[in-house]
């Protein structure tokens, strides 16, 4: 028994969204870039004095308008993303049943590279400090919530907001995620030999690793939909591999379980799903695990893509950016090709999308997996 569609459980509608990335400052600009097959990933020869060439999707500095010098780049992009996503729903800020939820993995960690280490710095880099600054900028009434659960943070943040609305605690949830690229994060992924030096190739035979990316994205959730045809968050689930803190499950059963539970709670079967936005980091083990998970859940025929070739891996923003694209797949009947994919490189069959598909999408599934063995799935429906 799950909380499913009943009269006394509110539905959760998506009433606003934004993607702020090197590909554009609005969702519309991002969709245009993706339609044009444009990637934000570029090669950089001396990023943070890295001796190795790095391919990453970075803001070049010029495109982000600075709000106030007291905000870091991380906070700045969060604020800009939230501002645009709420453009048509500004009034909910002052509502006592509105909650701000922030998703991030490393927030202001780059301050450790530039500032002397003091007690005050410990507070300044705290994720809840950034969340409160952002909340105060807009005037949200309630203390914000920070979700920091590795690479599933964005999906888990949307799920957390959905559950808070379903249980009646809040009526609106503004869910925003962001991460920026720092020497800290770059050197860490380099130490894992997890980075590709060119645009990544999720699920491809020749994939060599991931690209890091910067970005922010926001979804505005509400129990008050404007129309019954607004896209809804229908269900979601989280699981843990209980296998390894830095390597995914060998079988994919645990992500498969989260997906199956998500479908079950929605009262759907694998045949009902029209599109899957995979995590698809382009590391050998992640993509193999995901292909196995999709097969466990019977989803091998469903068109699937990874958007990491366009955005790189934006960590705490990834689940949000990719969910916004999934939401617009439903709204516009558009599924983008999985950039970088040419030849199957996973052991189980899956239906990787290789060209722009125009087809009706009623149900779209977004999945994510991360360090600590965590997996998440969330379902958006018309």
């Amino acid at each position: 028994m799950g909380i499913t569609e009943t009269d006394n459980v509110p539905k959760v509608f998506i009433i606003g969204d934004n993607i702020l990335s090197p590909l554009g400052q609005t969702t519309a600009e991002n969709l245009e870039a993706l339609k044009g097959g444009i990637s934000g990933v570029k090669q950089h020869n001396d990023l943070f004095c890295s001796p190795e060439r790095v391919a990453a999707s970075l803001f070049d500095g010029g495109e982000i308008s600075k709000i106030d010098k007291n905000y870091t780049k991380f906070e700045n992009i969060l604020i800009l993303s939230i501002y645009d996503a709420m453009a048509e729903n500004k009034e909910i800020v002052a509502h006592e049943k509105t909650i701000l939820i922030i998703s991030t993995t490393k927030g202001n960690i780059s301050l450790l590279e530039t500032e002397p280490h003091t007690e005050a710095l410990n507070t300044r880099v705290a994720l809840h400090t950034s969340a409160q600054l952002v909340a105060d900028h807009f005037g949200f009434k309630n203390q914000p919530i920070v979700v920091s659960n590795a690479c599933i943070s964005g999906v888990l943040a949307i799920l957390t907001g959905t559950r808070l609305i379903r249980s009646g605690v809040y009526e609106h949830a503004v869910v925003a995620g962001a991460d920026v690229v720092s020497q800290f994060v770059l050197s860490g992924f380099q130490s894992f030999h997890a980075l590709s030096d060119s645009v990544c190739k999720p699920f491809d035979k020749a994939r060599t690793g991931l690209n890091l990316g910067e970005g922010a994205a926001t979804v505005v959730l509400s129990s008050h939909g404007k129309t019954e045809t607004d896209v809804k968050v229908v269900s979601g689930a989280v699981s843990n591999d209980a296998n390894h803190i830095s390597g995914p499950s060998r079988t994919g059963e645990e992500l498969g379980y989260a997906i199956k539970k998500t479908l079950f709670n929605a009262g759907l079967t694998a045949h009902d799903i029209d599109y899957i936005s995979a995590h698809g980091t382009a590391t050998p083990y992640n993509d193999e695990m995901e292909a196995r998970a999709l097969n466990h859940a019977g989803l091998q025929q469903v068109p699937v893509n990874s958007l990491k070739g366009y955005y790189g891996h934006t960590l705490g923003a990834a689940g949000l950016i990719e969910s916004v694209i999934a939401i617009h797949a439903i709204k516009e009947g558009l599924i983008f090709p999985s950039m970088g994919y040419e030849e199957n490189g996973v052991s189980q069959p899956i239906n990787i999308c290789t060209e722009l598909l125009n087809k009706p999408v009623k149900h779209a599934l977004k999945t994510a997996s991360g360090f600590g063995g965590c997996n998440a799935a969330i379902l958006f429906s018309k």
Binding site: M1, Q132, I145, S148, Q190
Partner: protein
């Protein structure tokens, strides 16, 4: 203590009651199990204290030694939490999960990694620069495969924690949840973990905000 209270289910109350069937608190060189002091040590700094807890309870888990202090603290608290009262056998792996919270995320390890990255960045340090790794370590140890969530809040927020755990148990997403606070920064550390279940065992207190303060 609510030991004598009979179980009561109101027809108007959709959700069944939940109970705190075990708890563990670790701070200021002391370890409490279900409110009783079970270990005290002068060992300092924090690394030595955490090792002294591990040795006192004669835990045997070689992976402990490679963990960062946040994971060691959370792992130890979970061991003490589960060592006597928890019977794993009736539980499916998918129905046990964690909801954890702290103020400093993984800053303790972030500072250590930031110092080391100028030399040779180490993947074995970098992996611990995420707060939810402690949940991963607990799940690996006990083979728990249910939901995890990690929240970063300025201070312990019992109302929010209870709301999250209630949702997971009321919807039968989980049957058992390990929840609470695990925070480390330098020599400061505090763990307050609670085992929350739908069944009342012994003199278990009801899972209420006032009982997790």
């Amino acid at each position: 203590m609510g030991g004598a209270m009979p179980q009561f289910y109101s027809a108007n109350n959709m959700a069944a009651k939940k109970y705190i069937t075990a708890s563990c608190h670790i701070s200021h060189n002391r370890v409490y199990q279900d409110a009783g002091l079970v270990f005290e040590s002068d060992a300092a700094p924090i690394d030595d204290f955490l090792l002294s807890v591990y040795q006192h309870f004669q835990f045997s888990y070689p992976k402990f030694y490679k963990m960062d202090n946040l994971s060691k603290l959370g792992w130890l608290a979970a061991e003490v939490l589960l060592k006597d009262s928890f019977d794993k056998t009736p539980h499916k792996a998918e129905y046990t999960g964690t909801v954890l919270m702290n103020a400093n995320s993984s800053l303790d390890m972030d500072l250590k990694y930031a110092r080391s990255m100028q030399e040779v960045p180490s993947p074995s340090l970098f992996v611990y620069t995420l707060p939810n790794i402690v949940a991963g370590e607990i799940c690996i140890r006990h083979h728990f495969k249910g939901e995890n969530a990690f929240f970063v809040q300025p201070k312990f927020d019992g109302a929010f924690l209870k709301q999250q755990v209630d949702y997971l148990l009321d919807t039968d997403t989980l049957q058992t949840c390990i929840c609470g606070w695990v925070d480390v920064l330098g020599q400061e550390y505090q763990a307050d973990l609670f085992l929350v279940e739908k069944v009342k065992r012994g003199d278990a207190k009801e899972f209420l905000i006032e009982n997790i303060k």
